[in-house]
């Protein structure tokens, strides 16, 4: 995207945000004119270069620190290593096979999974207990890996960082300072983004890519749909699913989208290994641990 188009996009987004805040269009235009004349917008847009991979990983580490602050890891090193092996095998099939991928199971009974920029993926213990086999785990991880590969969270965080800078009328936001500042001030935006969720289109895209990565890794293409089918059967008022349901399209809508996208082209991969006994062995402590 050119700087000019970015400027237009940012200005449009800001104007839209102000519109929501109750500003008139004239006020919004006057505000934008002011920023343009003071050079603030140009300065800020200079800082809009793509973050380097190192910066992306820094951002991801900051996000993950907060996610793990909400709930620490589940205490089973063997399970953590198993999930890392399955996760890395799936991630190796993606367009970013060489990121330093890290996977973790947290000690939460809530059913959910999260991705953070730079290759960080967390699955809750509650989600692990809903899964039937390794293929379904690969499906869930494939969806999260897709968010990282497509930089869905990174883009959303960057947008909010730029909006903050613009909103504050910051004139001297250098490119180097922007990401350093973003990492330092990440706790607030992280909580806001992970409570609000991504765009629905990002979630549908992650489902489609997740199915492909899972299939490329040798698992059944219908593993992720099987998980979504489990979630679709849950009571929508189930408190343990509240955050997942709030931040994602309804599981039935996701299944309908996959039915259209997958068609019958994935039927040829029937009979893929499920590795259910290995999965049961690796997750055995989850079934002993009390809720």
């Amino acid at each position: 995207m050119s700087a000019r188009r970015l400027a237009l996009a940012a200005a449009t987004a800001l104007a839209a945000a102000m519109g929501l805040a109750g500003c008139s269009q004239q006020q919004a235009q006057a505000f934008m004119k002011n920023i343009n004349e003071s050079g603030g917008l140009q300065q800020t847009l200079k800082g809009l270069r793509e973050p380097t991979q190192a910066e992306e990983i820094d951002i991801g580490r900051g996000v993950t620190e907060t996610l793990l602050g909400a709930r620490p890891l589940y205490d089973d090193p063997e399970l953590q290593r198993y999930v890392n092996e399955v996760g890395l095998w799936v991630a190796r099939q993606s367009d970013r096979p060489d990121l330093p991928w890290h996977f973790g199971v947290n000690d939460s009974d809530y059913i959910n999974a999260f991705a953070a920029p730079g290759g960080y993926v967390i699955v809750t213990k509650g989600m692990m207990k809903e899964l039937r086999n390794e293929g379904e785990l690969a499906g869930v991880l494939g969806h999260e890996i897709a968010h990282v590969v497509q930089k869905h969270h990174l883009k959303a965080l960057r947008k909010s960082a730029v909006m903050n800078l613009l909103g504050a009328g910051v004139a001297a936001a250098s490119a180097e300072k922007q990401y350093a500042e973003l990492v330092q001030k990440l706790v607030g935006p992280t909580k806001e983004l992970y409570a609000r969720g991504l765009d629905k289109s990002d979630e549908f895209e992650a489902d489609r890519i997740g199915v492909v990565l899972c299939t490329r890794a040798g698992y059944d293409p219908y593993s992720l749909p099987a998980v979504l089918q489990t979630l679709a059967a849950a009571n929508p008022n189930d408190a343990y699913l509240a955050l997942l349901f709030k931040t994602h399209p309804a599981p039935t809508a996701r299944l309908d989208q996959l039915a259209i996208g997958m068609g019958t082209r994935f039927d040829v991969f029937g009979g893929s290994p499920e590795n259910a006994s290995r999965f049961e062995q690796a997750t055995r402590t989850l079934r002993i641990a009390s809720r």
Partner: protein, 180 residues
């Protein structure tokens, strides 16, 4: 001979355990019940939308089912596409305003959070997220469990997972060279 007996007894008692309750489901659109799990297999019956089924076997894109419920005398068996089914009872559809779902029957209540009760709470609710403080030590721990590419490949080999060449696809199903 006697040595062989104990495992045999264990094996027998394992299979003697009561089978877990069969999963049930219902069709979300008029659906052909096929004799075999193939699109061009013979059609046994056509199920209307909302038809109840008992799931016998899951097989990738297909599920082998027995149509109807226990009170039905004729219960045709066959295969339906898994994406034409939803799990659960058609009279208690979680979406579409089933009365039981609407009033929250069967919904698990959240564990108590906040200042009063904190022991035993294992949450990741929106509230837990809002109150979270960064935990750098836990991040280091997470990073310590990482796998190497060789370990991942070994897991794949032991699990008979062969990598495949599969293109990405668009929302309408068209194959994609690359995602944008």
């Amino acid at each position: 001979m006697k040595r062989c007996l104990l495992p045999l007894v264990l094996l027998v008692s394992f299979f003697a355990l009561p089978a877990p309750a069969a999963e049930s489901g219902y069709t979300i659109r008029p659906t052909e019940l096929k004799a075999k799990p193939f699109t061009d297999a013979q059609t046994v019956a056509t199920l209307p939308e909302g038809a109840q089924v008992e799931i016998i076997v899951r097989k990738s894109a297909w599920m082998q089912v027995r149509a109807g419920n226990r009170s039905d005398t004729v219960r045709p068996e066959g295969w339906v596409r898994m994406l034409s089914l939803r799990l659960g009872d058609p009279n208690r559809r979680p979406t579409g305003g089933g009365i039981l779902a609407a009033i929250g029957v069967g919904a698990r209540q959240p564990p108590q959070t906040g200042a009063t009760v904190t022991t035993g709470v294992r949450g990741f609710s929106e509230e837990d997220l809002k109150q979270a403080k960064p935990n750098p030590a836990e991040l280091k721990k997470m990073e310590s469990f990482s796998a190497s590419a060789a370990q991942a490949a070994q897991l794949a080999e032991a699990g008979k997972l062969a990598p495949r060449d599969v293109p990405y696809f668009a929302a309408d199903g068209k194959p994609l060279e690359k995602n944008k």
